[in-house]
């Protein structure tokens, strides 16, 4: 009885727009102009807010946050590919996608300045978006559950769930993909492989040759895309969403990108990585190549770029003004929304808190 091969797999790599802005016209998605422009705008908008937040944080006007600069493409491309009723389940580097899904800039600012105000999204925006997951990979399971519910109800909804490269070492990542695979749940899992989990480089995170192949064992198609190529991200997510809607189950996409900034503003990458590596990746970032692509199509020029930047900076200025002039909610907000109905024990603690607050104020 000869030994025989039972399973074999290969992982495809997809790049549509290379780092020099050269398009592969065979792979180019057929997107209307307004979609291309909205995708670019979404990425620039995230970049502008991100960079302003960094300044605010350094000035002591904002708390700790994890910048997304350089990683705008995957979540913005996903937002473009998604329908209104699809669920957006993010980790914490999907600012662009969240904004494109309608999250107001002020929510992001409030949240990162330690105010629960940031959690209250406009109902229409929050309806199909979960708060972003700080507990790494925990959201992969919520996505599988949301997908199960959509499928069971016969709804034409799908779920797009993001996580980082480090998340793929977590049990919840594997459980999430496994459950979704067994249930053939309509979920698109996207790992933003930005090469670093704080100080741990990709090669110390896993011995797997690609992150993408981690999904193979869970019975789903897996692909690696250039995560700084918004068109490749769009093509992959769109195909996966179509597949999900056909009832064929989940897909796993590894989007190879790079964390150009620190993990969070509390982190100093100089301790563990070379600036030369960062410089290399600045040359591959997603915005410049897309701008060139638009210009080659006759859709963009310096004047348009200048006008867009000016408009978005003004929008960010206004949001910062709003955020800094908003009268915060009352100090006792955490006593609301503990349970659906307030238990007498918590009501008493609430009253005690208010008395203490008054005493502190009077003192």
């Amino acid at each position: 009885m000869p030994r025989k091969t039972l399973a074999q797999f290969s992982i495809e790599y997809l790049q549509v727009l290379d780092e020099d802005g050269t398009i592969d016209s065979d792979l180019e998605p057929d997107l209307p102009q307004e979609s291309l422009l909205s995708l670019y705008r979404g990425m620039v908008r995230a970049r502008e807010l991100d960079q302003r937040m960094l300044k605010l944080q350094r000035q002591g006007r904002l708390g700790t946050f994890g910048p997304c600069t350089g990683q705008e493409a995957p979540s913005c491309a996903a937002a473009l590919a998604m329908e209104d009723d699809d669920w957006f389940v993010g980790a914490f580097r999907e600012l662009g996608g969240r904004l494109m899904r309608g999250e107001p800039l002020t929510n992001t600012l409030h949240f990162h300045n330690g105010w629960e105000e940031g959690n209250l999204l406009p109902a229409e925006v929050g309806r199909r978006m979960l708060p972003f997951a700080i507990v790494v990979a925990s959201q992969c399971l919520h996505a599988a559950g949301l997908g199960f519910a959509a499928k069971q109800a016969g709804k034409d909804e799908a779920v797009v769930c993001f996580m980082g490269d480090g998340a793929t070492s977590e049990g919840d990542f594997h459980e999430g993909l496994n459950f979704a695979g067994v249930w053939k749940a309509p979920v698109v899992f996207v790992s933003q492989n930005n090469q670093w989990a704080i100080s741990i480089p990709r090669e110390n995170q896993t011995a797997s040759e690609t992150i993408a192949q981690k999904g193979v064992a869970y019975g789903m198609p897996c692909i690696q895309v250039d995560g700084n190529d918004a068109l490749a991200c769009f093509v992959a997510v769109k195909q996966a969403l179509d597949r999900a809607r056909r009832g064929e189950g989940p897909t796993f996409i590894e989007a190879v990108t790079y964390r150009l900034m620190m993990h969070t503003t509390a982190d100093d990458p100089r301790k563990y990585r070379d600036e030369a590596e960062e410089q290399l990746w600045w040359g591959r970032e997603p915005l410049i190549r897309f701008q060139k692509y638009l210009a080659d199509k006759g859709l963009w020029d310096d004047a348009k770029e200048e006008a867009l930047r000016e408009e978005l900076r003004a929008e960010v200025d206004d949001a910062v003004k709003d955020f800094e002039s908003t009268k915060p909610w009352a100090a006792d907000v955490p006593f609301e929304h503990v349970h659906g109905e307030k238990h007498p024990t918590i009501e008493r603690q609430h009253q005690e808190f208010l008395r203490n607050l008054k005493e502190e104020a009077d003192a």
Partner: protein, 325 residues
């Protein structure tokens, strides 16, 4: 209605609620075709189909995590942890997500779900199958922890847990699963979560217990009552949010209190109750509040667990000591 065991009573509540509300489903390891290793979900697969008696892969965090997604999407999952000893893997999802989704979204998304888990000793089970760790789940604000003690209240509390708008850990004392039967009324009953029950009124001493401890506690009370004393007995039923008002009101009347807890002594529900009696009823006490508990050791194997879980004789001794103080 004939007399039912606790397993049958919970099964009845599940059938009733699944008939009443098509959003309700049961999920977990072996809960479908097999009907659960303790048969709590027996017959649900046949009646409601595989989509509502969902056999899941073997992963506790996965079961709660996906239940969270389902609950957010509008379903009412009743998830089973096969044994509470395996449930600790779901702690991250419980603390990080289930209990705080309501506040993280300022009420837009909630997690109305139930996590059932058999807990406790006394059934000659293998290691990791006998712990009583209710306090662990109770430390997380935003969730609820319910422990029934009899078939009738198990059915009424399960019904309440399924209808509750918040995530509920429903700990089933497996020692009481089949050890006795009780009359369960024909019509569905709902008990209030967050409310303890005075099961026997008395004036000389308050005994507080929950779950599997209620049976030995009642036996011990019967024994001590022969001394001519009047004992008030409280069944907590809900661990969190804890109804210490009912306990403190009773202690104000009796001046004496004994708490019986299967779990290890430290950092447990008894400790919390004593702290609250200290807050609200200290000046009424005529004796120190006594706690009769397990010990702060790794749960012994069943060969020698008998003396670790408070037996009737230890409860009798504790009651007499507190009465004589």
């Amino acid at each position: 209605m004939p007399k039912l065991t606790m397993v049958q009573a919970i099964n009845l509540a599940l059938h009733e609620e699944m008939t009443r509300d098509e959003r309700v489903l049961v999920m977990g390891e072996d809960v479908g075709v097999d009907g659960g290793v303790f048969r709590v979900t027996d017959g649900i697969h046949e009646t409601f189909g595989a989509d509502r008696a969902l056999d899941t892969p073997l992963a506790e965090s996965g079961i709660l995590g996906t239940a969270i997604g389902m609950a957010i999407a509008g379903l009412r999952p009743v998830a089973e942890m096969q044994f509470s000893g395996f449930s600790y893997l779901m702690m991250g999802q419980w603390e990080g997500n289930a209990t705080r989704m309501r506040s993280r979204t300022q009420g837009q998304h909630t997690c109305p779900l139930v996590v059932r888990m058999p807990y406790g000793g006394g059934v000659r089970a293998l290691e990791h199958h006998s712990e009583s760790r209710e306090a662990m789940y109770a430390t997380c604000p935003g969730g609820k922890v319910v422990i029934p003690s009899s078939p009738r209240n198990a059915r009424a509390l399960m019904t309440a847990a399924i209808r509750d708008e918040d995530p509920v850990v429903f700990m089933e004392p497996k020692h009481s699963y089949r050890s006795f039967r009780e009359e369960v009324p024909e019509a569905s009953e709902v008990m209030e979560i967050g409310k303890a029950e005075v099961v026997r009124e008395g004036n000389d001493l308050t005994i507080v217990g929950w779950g599997a401890m209620m049976r030995p506690l009642l036996k011990a009370a019967d024994e001590v009552a022969k001394d001519g004393v009047s004992l008030e007995i409280i069944d907590l039923l809900t661990i969190s949010p804890l109804d210490s008002d009912t306990v403190c009101e009773s202690v104000k009347k009796t001046g004496r209190c004994v708490i019986v807890q299967e779990a290890p002594r430290s950092f447990g529900v008894a400790s919390e109750l004593i702290a609250r009696i200290n807050d609200d009823a200290l000046m009424y006490l005529e004796a120190p509040v006594k706690r009769l508990t397990g010990y702060d050791v790794v749960t012994p194997y069943f060969g020698r667990e008998k003396s670790y879980i408070p037996p009737v004789s230890r409860i009798v001794g504790g009651l007499r000591e507190t009465l004589a103080f």
